[in-house]
């Protein structure tokens, strides 16, 4: 039941926040924070209940209720280690984005928070759903409010960016829907029961490799847009740049993770054969993403665009980590997702606060800001060095483990990925040098971080370095679930029989 609450609480507090808008904007903000804090408390109770290392299968919690029984659709939620990590990340970044919007958003405050919290509810739903139709439902729930966040509260070019974001995501999503339906029907035809239950579908034998490949490609279309995989990435810089700060934080910190999560949860276990066939291409695209994203980041003048392109580069590591099919690389990919969420979220927050103060994102008009805002500079410095993968930061743990695992199967990918780290250093430090170093620019002096903002930045920075120095809890949490994913692939790779290894079903399943 706790899983339902995880989704309902943000949504309901969003509604309440909207309702209270007419009374007082501050009340709206507090409702949003309190709702998320309540959610955080729930997640903490889950963490407290789970003993590490986990025993008794990868699944931690389960909820199921009938929804549309005629079509075999149930309202079914399951929580394992990967979901737990990402849900926790979602709530933390959710609180961060509400707090950072405290002074930025003054227009239609309640509706803003309604949209924000609905996106969060959708994301949490995506991380929990184990019925494919339900998953698709939450996938759409993420999308629409995000469109409003960009289109209403965004910057100059917001409509263009919002539509671009919508079209890209929706096109991918619809292809996934086709695949979901086809998979469900295929399962129904072979077994006689029509269902969209993830666990049952994971047992569907797909005899025809072409069918398997097509189905897999449908899913991949949705996740590759979100991740983003290079060539499908062009919505990202526009959307991230034009969105309000909270929108950018959620886009970069969370929405991109749903792509990585989708690969781990659905593509690999459901279509192991197709995944193995696609692995070389995925590797190549991942490496191109790492390098090309970094090259693009170097060329930007707009500070938000730079951070946005750096995400393309960082998520390339996630892609190669997932398709390396080794435990170490999978662990690295998960760690990288968490690390990237915290780091890029933090970067967008600082950049947003900066833009709010000096009303520009053009780095050529900045410079020497350290004199005016040393706290902001210090926070930015810490985040930037994390972003370039300085050892000791969580990003290093993620990238190092990823490359370590990738080296095993694709030496060239590991070497090129490591070379991408040089470029990461270049754009990160250049950002620092252009904004905070150098001679004083004409920008008027402005207030440094307020205690609220400083606390937020400190929290993110400390968690990044705490995870970097001791990533073991993340690894322990994700490990049982990743083992399941890895077995599916291994089983296929050995080609022992037509049978498939299946995802272990939750023990308390009725």
């Amino acid at each position: 039941m706790i899983l339902v609450f995880l989704i309902l609480i943000p949504f309901l507090s969003g509604l309440l926040s909207w309702y209270m808008e007419s009374r007082d904007a501050v009340v709206s903000r507090w409702i949003a924070v309190c709702g998320l804090a309540l959610n955080l408390a729930l997640v903490i109770t889950i963490w407290a209940q789970v003993g590490f290392p986990q025993t008794g299968g990868p699944w931690i919690d389960h909820f199921a209720a009938g929804w549309i029984p005629q079509l075999g659709i149930t309202f079914q939620l399951d929580l394992d280690g990967i979901s737990l990590l990402l849900v926790t990340l979602t709530i933390i970044l959710g609180i961060a984005s509400v707090v950072t919007s405290w002074t930025e958003i003054q227009d239609r405050v309640g509706f803003f928070h309604f949209n924000l919290l609905t996106v969060l509810a959708g994301i949490i739903g995506v991380f929990l759903a184990t019925d494919l139709i339900l998953f698709y439902f939450f996938w759409e729930v993420m999308l629409v409010p995000m469109y409003f966040l960009i289109a209403i509260w965004g910057h100059e070019n917001r409509i263009y960016a919002a539509i671009k974001f919508f079209i890209f995501t929706q096109a991918g999503g619809l292809l996934m829907l086709v695949s979901i339906l086809a998979l469900g029907i295929l399962h129904g035809k072979t077994s006689g029961t029509y269902t969209f239950d993830y666990f049952q579908l994971s047992q569907t034998p797909i005899a025809d490799p072409v069918v398997g490949m097509l189905l897999a490609l449908g899913f991949i279309a949705a996740f590759a847009v979100k991740l983003p995989v290079v060539v499908l990435h062009t919505w990202l810089p526009d959307a991230h740049t034009e969105a309000p700060t909270a929108g950018s934080v959620i886009l970069a910190g969370l929405l991109l993770k749903t792509g990585g999560y989708g690969f781990l949860r659905f593509v690999l276990p459901l279509f192991p054969n197709a995944s193995i066939q696609l692995a070389p291409y995925a590797m190549a695209l991942g490496v191109i993403g790492i390098i090309y994203g970094a090259v693009l980041a170097l060329g930007q003048r707009d500070i938000k665009r730079l951070v946005a392109y750096s995400s393309v580069s960082h998520m390339g590591f996630v892609l190669i980590g997932i398709f390396a099919f080794s435990m170490v690389a999978l662990q690295g990919a998960v760690a990288q997702m968490v690390a990237h969420g915290l780091t890029t979220g933090g970067l967008f927050i600082i950049v947003g606060l900066l833009q709010q103060r000096i009303h520009t994102r053009d780095m050529d008009r900045m410079g020497g800001l350290w004199v005016t805002a040393p706290l902001m500079g210090g926070a930015m410095l810490a985040l930037v060095v994390a972003s370039l993968g300085l050892p000791g930061s969580a990003n290093f743990a993620g990238e190092f483990l990823t490359l370590l695992g990738v080296y095993k199967s694709h030496v060239w990918a590991a070497v090129l990925g490591a070379a991408g780290l040089v470029l990461a250093a270049a754009y990160s430090l250049w950002l620092m040098a252009r904004v905070f170093f150098g001679p004083r620019s004409e920008v008027r002096s402005f207030g440094d971080l307020s205690p609220r903002e400083l606390g937020l930045a400190l929290f993110l920075i400390l968690s990044i370095f705490a995870i970097g120095l001791y990533p073991q809890p993340i690894i322990d949490t994700a490990s049982p679930a990743l083992k399941g994913v890895n077995t599916c692939i291994k089983f296929c790779n050995q080609g022992s029989s037509k049978q498939r290894a299946t995802i272990e079903t939750p023990a308390q399943r009725p």
Binding site: V231, L296, G299, M327, L390, P391, L404, A418, L421, L429
Partner: protein
């Protein structure tokens, strides 16, 4: 006693955290900044004492700290490893570091970023000590990148000048190119050894990397890449001269005494891998020899005092690489130690000189400072004498002589490498005394009222003492049988193994090198003291001027990189800043718009046309149904 080993890096780290998070007065900042390093030095000294008095089993003490990652397949335990090599490193690093911190309290006193400076310096100390103590390559890598970050921050310490920020970035990026090779080396080692624990790798190396196999030379070659970047060796040496943009204590600590020798340390630490790959080890020697010549000639032609010192640092590290390349492990580390003392001394003295000369760094605009700041003159003179390796009285002589002797007698050395070293020694002597003569003698050009305070005097005095005296713990066998240093290090590193010593030959070499050095000093005296007009006259010759410029520009490496790598790359970045992939989507957009225009022509707006088309469609459909 050994249980306190973790305090050695932890204390400066604690200092860093306090300096970052607490608001302190200037005195408190100095107390925390210097105090943390002083405490760390004391702990290191106490550990060193007990190491010598009652060495641990196998002369090695390992202190596991925490398990970083354990995925089942990959495990990394962060731990510290104390043996004679790392002990030497922490002793030198903490001691020299402490003196430089002490000096900085006075040198940086007027700077508004006082607390920030000490915070960065403490962070550097913590990272450097982590680097040398780490028993796991991942942990070592954390320190390795940490010192790189601090180097970036401290070079760009005076951030308001764009060129400082540029120099800082250059330093970080170029070293990171080497670091990438290093990182790939880590992946490779993990893949084949299943661990990144240094000792396990060294123990298993002969079995897993069979001599002569491809793998056996790729692994050390990748590590060498990291070492070359960090230690500013050819071809990645160009960042170090620019790094002089940082405050002078930074140049002394990071870019002379400690961080830049990390590459030397890395090679010595993983020596088994290098001995298993003779070609790579030979490459180390060649890189060292080439670098020491390139950098020495460049040092000879600099006008800027700090740049000259920077090139001399590159050159001296070249000697260390040369020694490593011929298997003279302890000689390389000996030179590291003496170099740490005398180069820190030279830089700190140079800082005082620059203060005295009103922030003028051009040696040709100084002159005649001998009378004004006699104390600084004497310590700088001692430092220069050590650098030039004046025979018998300086530590630099003993360490450099040890290297040259071993290059001569090692089977991996040989005449050509030895000659490079000797020519380098000659040039070193010339440029060392060129600095002394240009700065302190000749016509006075500036007035100064600068008087060094107690902190500066203590730091310089102690360093001068060690620069002179440290050499006596390791003397050539032919002079006296005092070999504390090599015996100490041979508990960890293999002893040097060369041809059978022949006393006559050794004496001949020693005297020859001494004469070369003295000749160098003589040349310097003639050119820069007796006939100050001579250099200008020489430059009138077109060819001499061309060579001079070539040397002054560091043999054109910078220009080459800028022209052929950096600029083309930046050009590519600039023209692609709009992202070429967007074209694909513009194309889709354009096509759908075209199709839309085409189809909208069918919308004539005439009801009768629509009706006619409908009829036609119905007829065709029915016709098809009937026919088929």
């Amino acid at each position: 006693m050994y249980k306190t080993l973790w305090l050695v890096p932890a204390l400066p780290m604690l200092g860093f955290l306090i300096l970052v998070f607490a608001r302190l007065t200037k005195n408190q900042v100095a107390m925390v900044g210097v105090g943390s390093v002083a405490l760390s030095t004391m702990v290191a000294a106490a550990i060193g004492w007990s190491f010598i008095a009652s060495p641990p089993v196998g002369s090695t003490y390992v202190q596991p700290l925490w398990s970083w990652v354990d995925t089942g397949a990959f495990q990394a335990v962060m731990g510290l490893r104390l043996d004679s090599l790392s002990l030497l490193m922490i002793l030198v690093v903490t001691f020299v570091g402490f003196l430089i911190h002490l000096y900085s309290t006075e040198y940086m006193a007027g700077d508004p970023g006082y607390a920030r400076f000490f915070a960065y310096m403490n962070l550097f100390m913590a990272s450097m000590l982590t680097l040398v103590l780490a028993d796991n390559l991942v942990f070592l890598y954390i320190g390795w990148e940490g010192v790189g970050l601090c180097s970036f921050l401290l070079i760009g310490f005076w951030y308001s000048e764009r060129k400082n920020a540029r120099a800082a970035m250059k330093a970080f990026l170029i070293t990171r190119i080497g670091d990438t090779a290093f990182a790939v080396g880590l992946f490779l080692l993990y893949f084949h050894f299943g661990t990144l624990n240094i000792q396990s790798i060294l123990d298993a190396a002969p079995a897993i990397l069979p001599a002569g196999s491809m793998l056996a030379w790729i692994a050390p070659a990748l590590l060498l890449g990291g070492a070359v970047g960090k230690s500013a060796q050819t071809p990645l040496q160009t960042w170090l001269p620019d790094a002089m943009a940082g405050p002078t204590p930074v140049s002394a600590l990071i870019h002379a005494a400690t961080m830049v020798t990390a590459g030397v340390y890395l090679i010595a630490r993983t020596h088994t891998l290098f001995t298993g790959a003779p070609w790579v080890q030979f490459a180390v020697a060649v890189i060292g020899a080439v670098t020491l010549l390139i950098a020495a000639t460049s040092a000879l032609t600099q006008r800027d005092l700090k740049r000259a010192l920077a090139y001399s640092t590159i050159s001296q590290i070249g000697y260390m690489f040369l020694a490593l390349g011929v298997g003279a492990w302890s000689a390389a580390m000996f030179h590291f130690a003496t170099h740490a003392f005398f180069k820190a001394l030279l830089f700190l003295a140079a800082g005082a000189i620059i203060n005295a000369a009103h922030h003028e760094q051009d040696m040709f605009k100084m002159g005649g400072l001998y009378k004004k700041i006699p104390f600084i003159f004497w310590v700088f003179f001692i430092g220069a004498a050590c650098l030039a390796a004046i025979p018998f009285v300086t530590s630099g002589f003993y360490s450099k002589d040890a290297i040259l002797q071993m290059v001569w007698s090692s089977s991996k050395g040989g005449l050509i490498l030895w000659l490079c070293g000797v020519v380098g020694a000659f040039i070193t002597a010339v440029y060392s005394f060129r600095m002394v003569l240009l700065v302190f003698f000749g016509k006075p050009q500036t007035q100064t009222a600068y008087r060094p305070g107690p902190a500066v005097k203590i730091a310089l005095g102690v360093l001068a003492f060690f620069s002179l005296g440290f050499g006596y713990i390791q003397l050539p066998e032919i002079i006296a049988n005092v070999q504390f240093f090599s015996h100490f290090l041979e508990r960890t590193l293999p002893a040097f193994w060369g041809s059978v010593p022949n006393h006559a030959v050794e004496w001949a070499l020693l005297i020859f090198v001494s004469l070369v050095t003295i000749a160098g000093v003589g040349v310097a005296a003639r050119v820069y003291y007796q006939e100050p007009a001579l250099p200008a006259r020489l430059l009138e010759n077109r060819y001499a001027a061309a060579i001079h410029n070539f040397w002054e520009e560091g043999w054109g490496f910078d220009a080459f990189y800028t022209r052929f790598i950096v600029n083309p790359f930046l050009w590519l970045v600039r023209i692609n800043s709009g992202d070429v992939v967007n074209v694909l989507y513009w194309l889709i957009e354009f096509l759908s718009e075209r199709i839309n225009i085409l189809l909208s022509h069918t919308q004539t707006g005439k009801t009768r046309t629509y009706a006619a088309v409908m009829v036609g469609g119905a007829v065709i459909t029915i016709g098809l149904l009937v026919l088929l």
